[in-house]
Every structure is written in structure tokens, then in C-alpha cells.
């Protein structure tokens, strides 16, 4: 999917992290991910197209995680790491190479504990920037979850997993207030149409309810 469907805000994240989004130079569109990460879990955001680089900040409680920015020259081709660091709470970090690249952020729980996390991934302001390209991908340990893809318009939610997982949608209003959760069931695949109401935003989520790790993808198209 190639559309600017990320909504403005992430006000909660800004407050939680104490990071001033206004200082980041970010556009309002961005990918916001909330998660709970069992050991060994990896979550990769969908991709951002940018000719002016990308940036991220976030946290994983409490001992830290491996943060990796990957870049590739095509939307659906291979990519490679361009930035790696281990931190519990990286401040706004910019990675920018000359040219147009498709960037995504991958976060790996390297500690032997389950930890909550949240991060923002965005592009420098540019007319060429695009967001929400392709799916989120993840390897989630048992009990792990994340919420990532979001939309304010009619969309298909598409997911696949190697083991049964529970698919849900968190509904928020324009102020970021939580309204309700829509349960889409437990399965290894998902393909449903979503239609948010007025002033509603949908955040697609998945929880690994199986005992084995889940290798999965989740997208809104």
C-alpha cells in the first residue's frame, strides 16, 4: 500500500517519552507502534519512502533493545541495515543518505524478559515522502503483541501468521482517546474490510495466543 494514511498526533507517545515532536522536524504522518515484547521478538514497521532520510525515537522497558533502521531502493525489494544501536530509550535519531530510499525500523527484544515498548518512525518533511508502504512484519514470542498499522478511512486488514494469533482493532477518536476494541478472532490468516466512523481511527493489532513463536505480517490496504 502506498498512501499517506498515518494520522497526526501520537500525543500520548510524545508525553510518555518526553520527546518534543515539534523539535524533530517531522511531518504529522508517521508510524506509531505499541508493543509487548517477549524475549527474542522482532517487530519491523511498514516502510517509509523518503528522499530526506528517516528518524525514530522510542523506548523498550527497561534494559534496552536493538534498534535497526533498514533501507532499500525499491518498495518491495530487499533492504539492508544502515543504522544499529542498543538502547532502552533512544532519543530522536536521524539517518539520512543521499537519494530516495524505502526505510523501515526493526526493534528486537534482546533481553531475557518481556518488556513493553513504544516507538515512532517518521520521515523528514518532503513532498516525496510516503508512508504505510507494505506490511508490518514480526516474530512474536508467546503472549507478545503489537499495534502498528493505522487508518482513518475504509481499508482492508490483511494478516498472516504461522500459528494462530488474535487479531484486533483498537478504535480511537481524533484526540487519541481509546474508544473500544474490535475482536476479529483467532486464526492464521485475516482479510476483512474496515470502515471507521466519523472522527475514528483504527489501529490494527495482533497478539500471539499460541505457545510457539509467531512469524507474521499485518497490513492495512
Amino acid at each position: 500500500m502506498l498512501t499517506a494514511r498515518r494520522r497526526a498526533g501520537a500525543i500520548g507517545a510524545v508525553i510518555v517519552l518526553g520527546t518534543a515532536l515539534a523539535l524533530s522536524g517531522a511531518t504529522a504522518a508517521q508510524a506509531v507502534t505499541t508493543s509487548n515484547l517477549p524475549p527474542g521478538s522482532i517487530i519491523c514497521t511498514d516502510k517509509i519512502r523518503s528522499d530526506k532520510g528517516t528518524a525514530f525515537y522510542g523506548f523498550v522497558r527497561s534494559a534496552g533493545a536493538l534498534w535497526m533502521v533498514r533501507a532499500g531502493s525499491t518498495a518491495d525489494g530487499t533492504d539492508s541495515p544502515i543504522l544499529q544501536l542498543t538502547s532502552a530509550e533512544p532519543s530522536t535519531t536521524y539517518a539520512s543518505w543521499p537519494g530516495t530510499f524505502y526505510y523501515r525500523l526493526c526493534v528486537t527484544q534482546t533481553q531475557p524478559v518481556t518488556a513493553a515498548g513504544r516507538w515512532n518512525h517518521f520521515a523528514q518533511p518532503s513532498a516525496n515522502a510516503a508512508f504505510g508502504i507494505g506490511p508490518y512484519t514480526a516474530t512474536l514470542g508467546s503472549g507478545g503483541y503489537f499495534c502498528g498499522p493505522s487508518t482513518s478511512g475504509p481499508s482492508r486488514i490483511v494478516g498472516t501468521s504461522g500459528v494462530p494469533v488474535r487479531w484486533t482493532v483498537d478504535v480511537e477518536n481524533g484526540d487519541g482517546d481509546f474508544l473500544r476494541t474490535i475482536d476479529l478472532g483467532t486464526s492464521t490468516s485475516l482479510d476483512q474490510l474496515l470502515t471507521p466512523g466519523d472522527n475514528e481511527y483504527f489501529n490494527a493489532c495482533v497478539r500471539n495466543t499460541s505457545s510457539a513463536p509467531a512469524t507474521l505480517s499485518l497490513d492495512l490496504t
Binding site: S73, D79, L83, L85, S87, T92, T93, W97
Partner: protein, 131 residues
């Protein structure tokens, strides 16, 4: 803004070994003079094919700093910023940060740190090629 170049300790021109800079004198953190806010300390350029690792710290843990890596296609050529990340005032140590080009090639990297305040401090910065 003040900008001070510092000496590397190894064969940076060949991109071999460690290009380490400790403080402004290049002889170790303990001997490094204190620098005021606004001071920028940069390493020499090192040539690398597979990227570099930047790390360092400011020794006064109430100080903030801004860390950058720049890249040029030729020695002494025009440098482009490819990494920018802050530390401080709570976290004053930059974790080992690996910077790798998205397109294969040989690049000339430089690491810089700017003391953003509020207090004067010594700094340590290290830039090493990734093997």
C-alpha cells in the same frame, strides 16, 4: 561555533585499525581539557567499505551533546550528514552506533560531537571502521 579537529591514533587514511580520539588531545580522557558548550570535536576522516561504528561520551553527566557522522565520496570532499543523534542530560554515553551505507561503495567517514550544554565538559569520541 568552535570546531576543533583532533588527531587519530591509527592508520585512518587506509581505513585500517581503530581511529580513536579520546578528548581533545588524543592522549586519553583524563588528560583532555574541558570544553565549553558550543564546542565541536571531530575525528579525522577514515575510509571504510562496510561502514563505521561511532561511540563516545561526555564526562560530565549533566551535559548534553549532539553526535553526527558525515560521509564524503572522496578524501576531503563535500561531506553529507548521515547520522544525527543526541545524548544527555540523563544519558551521557553514546552507545556503539553502527552506520552502514545503503549502497555498496567506499566512503570517507567523519564523526563529530558538539557539546550543547549547559556545562563545560570533556568529551570522548571514537570512530572505527566495521570489518
Amino acid at each position: 561555533m568552535r570546531r576543533k579537529s583532533v588527531l587519530g591514533l591509527a592508520a585512518g587514511g587506509l581505513g585500517l585499525g581503530v581511529m580513536a580520539v579520546l578528548g581533545l588531545s588524543g592522549v586519553g580522557a583524563a588528560a583532555a581539557p574541558t570544553v565549553p558548550p558550543g564546542t565541536t570535536v571531530c575525528t579525522s576522516q577514515i575510509r571504510a567499505d562496510a561502514g563505521v561504528t561511532l561511540s563516545g561520551s561526555v564526562t560530565r553527566n549533566t551535559s548534553s551533546a549532539l553526535w553526527k557522522v558525515t560521509v564524503a565520496s572522496t578524501p576531503g570532499g563535500v561531506e553529507t550528514e548521515v547520522l544525527r543523534t543526541p545524548t544527555g542530560p540523563v544519558t551521557f554515553r553514546l552507545p556503539a552506533t553502527h552506520v552502514t551505507p545503503p549502497v555498496p561503495g567506499t566512503y570517507h567517514f567523519r564523526g563529530c560531537v558538539t557539546v550543547t550544554g549547559p556545562l563545560a565538559t570533556t568529551v570522548q569520541i571514537q570512530l572505527t571502521p566495521i570489518a
